[in-house]
Structure formats: structure tokens, C-alpha cells
């Protein structure tokens, strides 16, 4: 029941985004090409060859229905056309960039989940003490700072002022490493600041969620009962508080992960990191519509898959839902 309802929602979302992607460029005054040319600021210069490419891409000579059919066909075959700026199939461009993003987003996610959950749990344990209050206020403050601002602060401090880390990029250009070990060091060196920035940006929200949930669980009668049973603090925290508090957290963390892929656009721009976030910014500024289209579809599908995964994980962790399902079947 629950699951099918969610699936319907996801289908709606997919449909909505794909439709938006199809309709928006065609709805612009005068169509995508005139819109770009006639734009009062004219941010982009378009050559005749590009115009041809665009007309080709949008199939503007054909009827609306034919355009739609081509569009849908393209989506299912992962054929998003040629990128205007890279003169390469969109699919390949994205695949070249994706590993970089996955690297920093992945590491940052693991770090922020671990730090956020542990800090949140301990903070809840010390709830209503001055110690917890201080943590809480600083985390609230950190969670509100836009991540590009954190990134800039780091760049200012660690790269400009002290020169500890590189200003940007994923690897030193024109550098031939002696074996994979040097390469690894070089890459991790470049990844430190982006990863730290992303971690800082995401830890706070997980911490706040975890703290609230853990405080709620700590007030449950069964915690008092476990204490009365003489169960030690460590066991209470791990077996009773963490297990109960983490259920709602998992869903939220997984869903947030989807947002992170798109959210990396800011951090990657700050550090000129060659991931798909940076690619997204380039594509938007250069009005590289095929590339944009590909990125949007990719990111939406990614978000939806994560949501579905969260829906699947949840019942595995909560015995109450499991048995309810069996009873219903």
C-alpha cells in the first residue's frame, strides 16, 4: 500500500521534471535560439554552426508531437545529443566528470553521517546542560552558513593565507606522478578542502536531526525502564537510544544524499573541482542545453532512486512494519 503510493509520487516527479525540461526552452519568447541571440545582455555568442546544431537538437522544424516523441526516445536510450561546448556526446561528458563528484560527495557523506550521529547522540545525552547548549548553538550557526561561504573561508585561510592546500582543481595540472601512490596523494591533497567544506555543511543538519530524535527517545518510558533494569550507559545509548532514534534519520539522510549531488555545484565552483556540479554551472552559463538536459535527468533519477532505496531500507530496520506487512499479505 505504502510503497505503491510512493512509487506513484516518484513517477509524477519524473514526469514533471521531464515535461519541464521539454516545455521550458520551447516556451521562451521566440524559442531557444532567438532567446539567446536577442537576450539584452547577450551573455553568449552563438555562431551559425551552433544555431544549426540547436535547431537540429530541438527538431524545431518538426511538429510539437514529433519533437516530444524524439525527446522521449532520447531519454530512454540515454541519448541526450551532442554537447554544444564540448562537441562530444553528453553522456560521455557526464561520465568523465561523475567519478570526481562521487569521490568528494561520498567521502563527505560518510564523514558527516558518522560525526553528526555521534555528536548528536552525545549532545542529547548531556541535554539541558551548558555543554550541550554551546554545541547546539554553534551547530545551528554552522548549519545556516551557505556552503560556498564556508568554502571561501577555507580558501582564504588555508590556501591564500597559509598556502597549505591547493587553490582548486582535482589534481596538479601537467604533473606526471611517479606511480599510483603519488597520484593518490596528489588527488587526496586536492580533495581535502572540498570534502571538509561539504562535511561541515552537512554535519550540522544531521547533528540537529539526531539530537532532536535522541532527546525524544530519551524521554520514552522504556529508556527509564532500561535504566531501572541496571543497563549500563553505553548499552542504553547504543542499543536503546541509537537504534530507535536512527530509524527516522536514515530516511532523511538518504534523501538528503540526492540533494547533495546537485548541491555540490557550489562547492565545486568555489574549488574549481571538475565534477558534475561544476559542469552544471558551465552548462547553465554557456546555455549548453543538451548538456543541461542530460544533467537534470541524471540528477532527478539519482534522487528518485535514493528515495526508493530509503523506502526499502526502512522496513528492514523496524520490526513493527515488517510484521504488519506479513499480516496484510
Amino acid at each position: 500500500m505504502r510503497r505503491s503510493k510512493h512509487t506513484v509520487t516518484y513517477l509524477y516527479v519524473l514526469f514533471f521534471v521531464l515535461l519541464l525540461n521539454f516545455v521550458l526552452p520551447r516556451l521562451l519568447p521566440g524559442g531557444p535560439i532567438d532567446f539567446l541571440e536577442g537576450g539584452e545582455d547577450g551573455p553568449v555568442f552563438i555562431s551559425d554552426a551552433q544555431k544549426v546544431a540547436m535547431r537540429d537538437y530541438y527538431h524545431l522544424d518538426e511538429s510539437a508531437w514529433m519533437q516530444l516523441a524524439d525527446y522521449v526516445k532520447g531519454i530512454f536510450t540515454f541519448d541526450f545529443g551532442q554537447s554544444f561546448t564540448y562537441k562530444m556526446p553528453v553522456y560521455e561528458v557526464i561520465m568523465n566528470r561523475l567519478p570526481w563528484t562521487l569521490l568528494i560527495v561520498g567521502v563527505a557523506t560518510v564523514l558527516s553521517i558518522v560525526i553528526g550521529i555521534v555528536a548528536g547522540l552525545l549532545s542529547a545525552w548531556r541535554h539541558a546542560g551548558d555543554h550541550d547548549r554551546g554545541w547546539f548553538l554553534s551547530m545551528i550557526s554552522v548549519s545556516t552558513i551557505p556552503d560556498f561561504l564556508t568554502g571561501m573561508l577555507f580558501v582564504l585561510g588555508f590556501s591564500v593565507k597559509w598556502d597549505w592546500f591547493p587553490l582548486g582543481g582535482a589534481a596538479t595540472p601537467f604533473y606526471t606522478p611517479n606511480g599510483w601512490w603519488d597520484l593518490l596523494i596528489d588527488v587526496s591533497w586536492h580533495a581535502v578542502l572540498p570534502v571538509v567544506t561539504l562535511t561541515v555543511a552537512n554535519t550540522a543538519s544531521i547533528y540537529l536531526l539526531m539530537r532532536n530524535e535522541a532527546i525524544r527517545v530519551l524521554r520514552e518510558p522504556f529508556i527509564e525502564f532500561a535504566l531501572a533494569k541496571g543497563v549500563g550507559s553505553g548499552t542504553i545509548l547504543y542499543r536503546h537510544v541509537l537504534r530507535n532514534a536512527i530509524l527516522p534519520i536514515i530516511t532523511m539522510v538518504v534523501v538528503r544524499l540526492g540533494g547533495l549531488l546537485a548541491g555540490s555545484v557550489l562547492v565545486e565552483t568555489v574549488f574549481s573541482y571538475p565534477g558534475i556540479g561544476n559542469l552544471l554551472q558551465e552548462a547553465i552559463l554557456a546555455r549548453d542545453y543538451p548538456l543541461l538536459h542530460g544533467l537534470f535527468v541524471l540528477m532527478t533519477v539519482f534522487v528518485l532512486l535514493l528515495n526508493m532505496a530509503a523506502d526499502r531500507i526502512y522496513p528492514l530496520l523496524d520490526p513493527r512494519i515488517q510484521t504488519g506487512k506479513q499480516g496484510g499479505a
Binding site: S141, F222, A228, K229
Partner: protein, 620 residues
């Protein structure tokens, strides 16, 4: 208003002041290329000029205006949408699927991605941004408001209003609105902050409104100038807008944080309180603490002592409480009281809700933090190992069996005493099986050599003792009925054979028939194992039927402590008389007849118990 909220308001007020007055003071248009490039701050250009020769202070103050406009616009639009749609979705069942479905769709999408889509295809104007953000960010709080309305709709004052023919608009406005105003206030500040952040981020990506000066754009321009990093220019081109953004977002966060209510401190200590200790050997207690019940009135003192010696063996106390009082936040929850409870007796603590009886129970069990509680509590040691291993050291009783020589020691929870509370359905952790929760309780025993299978065996045995199938060990609490959980809880309480069981309204949440079943089982098992029971209840009629002694508590004061029969026939306070007047006269007669019977049984039971103890002594 707390400190963080005050700090937040000051910051936000400064920002609004800058937005309103700044442009008048600046005197230079933000986009005018009047000055030299990258001038250091001076009396003419307060914050210097940027790489294009534009005045930084002018840009900063005009940027504050843009930020304020976007923040206000988005906050008003988004808050109104969440409020109106939330109220409608919660109250009108027909609109709910539509609104909630739409919200679900929007919630799945990360809003940044959608804003980017729209910004990519439009020119990124301020108004487009306001509308896009306003339309995208309502679902989160709409759902909170909807959930709140859904539960409020079931409140009886709403039903009553419906019965008086209050129209939906009237009910929503008058009855429900006051409840969601705090949510809307938080939402407003949150939206404001999100809008500020989002606008700055978009501008930083180069997607902002090209005709408006904004902080994000100042940052973007400075950030992409190599000169910024080569010289000290970053000190006035990057730091001011960066600080402004930081301060505004943090200020707004502090402002909304003040809305969250700081929860009251839970009166709970995670480790056993140091004021609760084990009773020393029986001879020592007799010397240090008066044996009998608390002295309420000296005249009755002698009678009570008689009763005490008649029923139980002299100074055999299971609990001795010495000048116990509880004060929290300047409020006295328990007035100082001293009393002792005879081993093997059932004592009922009677009081209304809020009279302090639960606090007393938690204090005796050592669940209160040390700083709110004063006085001392002594509890007789218990546990299965205690009596059999060391009965050689003390010949007649098992008091202080394992540590006869050692000085005051804290109690071992669940071994020396056990504590069960109101609702058995809420006492079990929903994510652990019954068996796992039994195992946990058995970890407290001294003998760590017990293997898992032995523990399982003991748990099965305990379940059978309360007439439950031992297969329940692998079930989760939600699969059991309230009555079954009540029995399981009882089995759990008996598992280590503690000397004292404290039961706080153990049947309060159960149906009348189940309630009697559980209460009878509880008393039977306690008598069977020669344990002492402290039964906290508001039901004095039930208490009269099972208890040997009664303690009456009102407003944190111990009014009376007397044997049940004596309390029934010679109540010492007017409150007790008032309580008794509530019982039908037939009942009263009935109960006192019962007492003769039960009292006899009990004395008999005590005698048997003592005999057993003597036997144990002899065999070793």
C-alpha cells in the same frame, strides 16, 4: 526572551537599518564607475572600491536592500502558502489527497535543482526568483501544519464547536489558528533565511539578476579576479559581503532558535544515586535507625511497633528511609520524611496524581539525580546468588550476604531491587525482542559466568511462572497484548529475585478485568518469593485489598503510615476519612472480613518463609 534570541534580533535589526539607511548615506550609485580600481578604504569610499572601481559600501547597502526584498517576498509567499494549504489539507478530508500529493512531489525534488532549472531558462530576475522559491518551499511546513491540524481536529473542543454549528472558517480561524501561529513564525524566519542563502548562492554561480547589486554578486566578482588573491584587496572586497551574509544568516538562525522551547531537565540520573545504599547487617540497623514506621503521631507509635513485631521478625526491614526530601527548581516535591518498611510486607503508597508518590518511588529506587534529593535510603540486598553462596557468614538472614564487612555500597539495580512503571506497553523497547530485554536485565548479576543459554533457560522459566508461553522470548512487544506484556513485565521483575519490588501504578493503563488479574498475580508472586512490595497507586480500594500497610501521601507530605486494618478503622487524618467515605459501606465490611482471612494467610506465609531460611542456614 533568552540571550540567543536577543543577539539574533540585534543582528537582524542592524541589517534592516543598513538596508533602509545605507543607500542614503552612500551617496554613490552602486554601479557607477566613479573611483579608481581597488582603492583602499578611505573617508570617501568607506569600504574602498572593487576591481571595476565601484564603491563597495554602496554595493553592500544596496545589496542589503535586495536581500531584504527577496527574503521578505519569499517568506510572505511561502509562509502564507504553507499556512493556508496546511489548514485546508488538515481540516478538509477531500482536499487533503490533492494538496498532500502535490507536496510529496515537491518534497522529493531538491529545490536547488529546480531553482537552477528555472534560473537557467529565464534571465534570473528578482521577481522570478521570489515566485519560484515561494512556490517551491511551502511543502515542508505545510506538512507540519497539516499534521498538527489533523490531530487538533480530533480534540474535543473542536468537536464541541462543530456541535454548536461553528462553521469551518470560524473553527479554523478561532480554534486552530492560535496553535499554528508559533509554527508560522518559525517558518517565516526559516524561509527568509533560505531565500537569502539561495539568492547569494545563485548570484555566486553567476545566475543572479544582472541589474541588481547583491552580496552574492559582489563575492562572485571579487572571487574570480586574480588580483583579489594576489594583493590585500580581499580584505575589503570579499570580507564585507561575506561577513554581512554570515551575520544575517546566523542572526536569523538565532532568532528562530529562541522559538524552540528548551525542554525541562529530566529528573533522572543515569547511574544509581549515591544516596541509595544497601542496608547493613540487621544488628547495625537496629542500633542506628528506629525500627518502626514513621512517627506521624506519637500516640500511635506504640501500636504500630506492636504490629511490626507481631507480623514480621523485629528489625527485619527491607527499606529504611531517612529524612528523604526532594526539591527541584525551588519547588518542594517531597517534604522531609522518614519511614521503614518491613521485609516481606506489601505496602501501598496512596495519593492522587501530582501528590509526589511517583517521585517518592523513583527516589527510593535511586532514579533521581543526587542534587535534587537529600536524605538517605537503605535497601536490603537481594538476588539469587546472595542467599545461597554466603549464608555461612550470617546465620539467620541473608541481609548483606555478599558484603557483610564492607561499608556502605550503592545498590545493584534489578538485583537488590526492581522497579516497574505504569504502562507495560511503553516499558518495553519496541525494537528489541522480549528475550533480548530479559537478557539485558540478567547482566546485572554478579556471576558473569552465566552463559547465554543458561540465561535463556532462566527467562523461559520466568515466563512459565507467570503462565506465559516461552516462545514469547522471540516476539517483539507490539505482537503481545497489554495483559501479556503486563505478565511479561512481572516475570522480568522477578528474574533476579530482588528483595524489593517497587511497582508504580503497575495496572494503571489496563482494563478493569485484566487489571485485577495482573495485580493478583503480582501480589501472589511477591508473597511466594518472600519479597517486599512497594505498590504505588491512586486506587485506595484496590490497595486495601492487597496491602499490609498503607502510606497516605498528599501534596508531597506523608500524612499517615499504618497497618491497613488500623487505617481502615482508625484513620488519623480527615483526608483519610474523606477517602474512606467514598467506599460503599458494604465494601468496607467486606474488606475487613477479608483482612482477617488474608492476614492469617500472610502470617502463615511469613512463618513458612522463616522456616525455610532456617533450613538453608542449617544445610550449609
Amino acid at each position: 526572551m533568552n540571550r540567543s534570541k536577543k543577539a539574533g534580533s540585534v543582528i537582524v535589526a542592524c541589517f534592516v537599518g543598513l538596508a533602509l539607511a545605507g543607500p542614503l548615506l552612500a551617496g554613490v550609485e552602486p554601479f557607477a564607475f566613479d573611483g579608481e580600481r581597488l582603492l583602499t578604504p578611505s573617508s570617501v569610499n568607506w569600504l574602498g572600491t572593487n576591481a571595476l572601481g565601484q564603491d563597495v559600501f554602496s554595493q553592500l547597502s544596496y545589496g542589503a536592500r535586495t536581500t531584504l526584498l527577496i527574503g521578505l517576498g519569499v517568506a510572505v509567499l511561502s509562509t502564507t502558502l504553507s499556512g493556508v494549504l496546511g489548514l485546508m489539507a488538515g481540516y478538509f478530508k477531500r482536499l487533503d489527497p490533492l494538496i498532500n500529493g502535490l507536496a510529496n512531489v515537491l518534497l522529493v525534488l531538491p529545490s536547488l535543482l529546480l531553482v537552477l532549472i528555472v534560473a537557467a531558462f529565464t534571465s534570473g530576475g528578482v521577481w522570478q526568483l521570489i515566485v519560484t522559491l515561494g512556490l517551491l518551499t511551502w511543502p515542508g511546513y505545510m506538512r507540519l501544519i497539516r499534521a498538527s491540524v489533523l490531530s487538533l481536529r480530533e480534540r474535543e473542543f473542536v468537536k464541541a464547536s462543530q456541535l454548536f454549528h461553528g462553521k469551518p472558517s470560524y473553527i479554523l480561524r478561532k480554534h486552530l489558528m492560535p496553535f499554528i501561529v508559533p509554527l508560522l513564525r518559525t517558518k517565516f524566519i526559516l524561509s527568509f533565511r533560505q531565500a537569502v542563502t539561495m539568492e547569494a548562492s545563485l548570484s555566486f554561480l553567476g545566475l543572479g539578476d544582472p541589474n541588481q547589486p547583491t552580496w552574492g554578486k559582489m563575492l562572485e566578482q571579487a572571487f574570480h579576479q586574480t588580483e583579489t588573491w594576489m594583493t590585500t584587496a580581499w580584505q575589503w572586497t570579499i570580507v564585507p559581503p561575506m561577513l554581512a551574509l554570515l551575520l544575517v544568516t546566523i542572526g536569523l538562525a538565532l532568532l528562530s532558535e529562541g522559538e524552540h522551547q528548551q525542554g525541562n531537565r529530566l529528573l533522572r540520573s543515569y547511574s544509581p544515586s549515591s544516596r541509595v545504599k544497601l542496608l547493613l547487617a540487621s544488628s547495625e540497623i537496629a542500633a542506628s535507625v528506629p525500627c518502626a514506621h514513621s512517627s506521624v503521631k506519637a500516640a500511635e507509635q506504640t501500636q504500630r511497633t506492636e504490629h511490626c513485631t507481631a507480623t514480621h521478625a523485629g528489625s527485619d526491614n527491607a527499606v529504611v528511609v531517612h529524612d528523604l526530601s526532594v526539591v527541584h527548581n525551588g519547588r518542594t516535591i517531597l517534604q522531609p520524611m522518614s519511614f521503614s518498611i518491613a521485609a516481606g510486607s506489601v505496602t501501598a503508597i496512596i495519593g492522587e496524581s501530582g501528590s509526589g508518590k511517583t517521585t517518592l518511588a523513583r527516589a527510593v529506587y535511586g532514579l533521581l539525580p543526587d542534587d535534587v534529593m537529600s536524605g538517605a535510603v537503605y535497601i536490603r540486598s537481594g538476588g539469587t546468588n546472595g542467599s545461597s553462596e554466603t549464608s555461612g557468614t550470617s546465620d539467620t538472614s541473608n541481609i548483606c550476604a555478599t558484603n557483610g564487612s564492607s561499608a556502605e555500597r550503592g545498590i545493584n539495580r534489578w538485583v537488590d531491587a526492581a522497579f516497574i512503571v505504569q504502562d507495560p506497553r511503553l516499558s518495553f523497547n519496541p525494537l528489541l525482542t522480549i528475550g533480548q530485554q530479559f537478557m539485558e536485565a540478567m547482566q546485572g548479576t554478579d556471576a558473569s559466568s552465566i552463559t547465554v543459554s543458561e540465561k535463556r533457560l532462566a527467562a523461559k522459566q520466568a515466563l512459565r511462572e507467570v503462565q506465559l508461553s516461552d516462545r514469547l522470548l522471540d516476539s517483539y512487544p507490539h505482537e503481545l497484548s497489554g495483559g501479556m506484556l503486563g505478565r511479561a513485565l512481572l516475570a522480568l521483575a522477578l528474574i533476579n529475585k530482588p528483595s524489593l519490588l517497587i511497582a508504580d501504578e503497575p495496572t494503571g493503563a489496563l482494563d478493569p478485568i485484566v487489571k485485577w488479574e495482573i495485580l493478583n498475580l503480582l501480589v501472589t508472586k511477591v508473597r511466594e518469593h518472600g519479597m517486599t512490595l512497594l505498590l504505588i497507586t491512586h486506587d485506595h480500594q484496590a490497595a486495601l485489598r492487597v496491602a499490609d500497610d498503607m502510606m497516605i501521601i498528599k501534596d508531597g507530605q506523608l500524612l499517615e503510615h499504618a497497618p491497613a486494618e488500623q487505617w481502615l478503622h482508625h484513620p488519623a487524618t480527615s483526608y483519610s476519612r474523606e477517602l474512606q467515605a467514598l467506599m460503599p459501606s458494604i465494601r468496607r465490611r467486606h474488606i475487613s472480613e477479608e483482612f482477617k482471612k488474608v492476614g492469617f494467610q500472610h502470617r502463615e506465609g511469613c512463618r513458612n518463609l522463616k522456616k525455610e531460611q532456617r533450613n538453608v542456614g542449617r544445610t550449609t
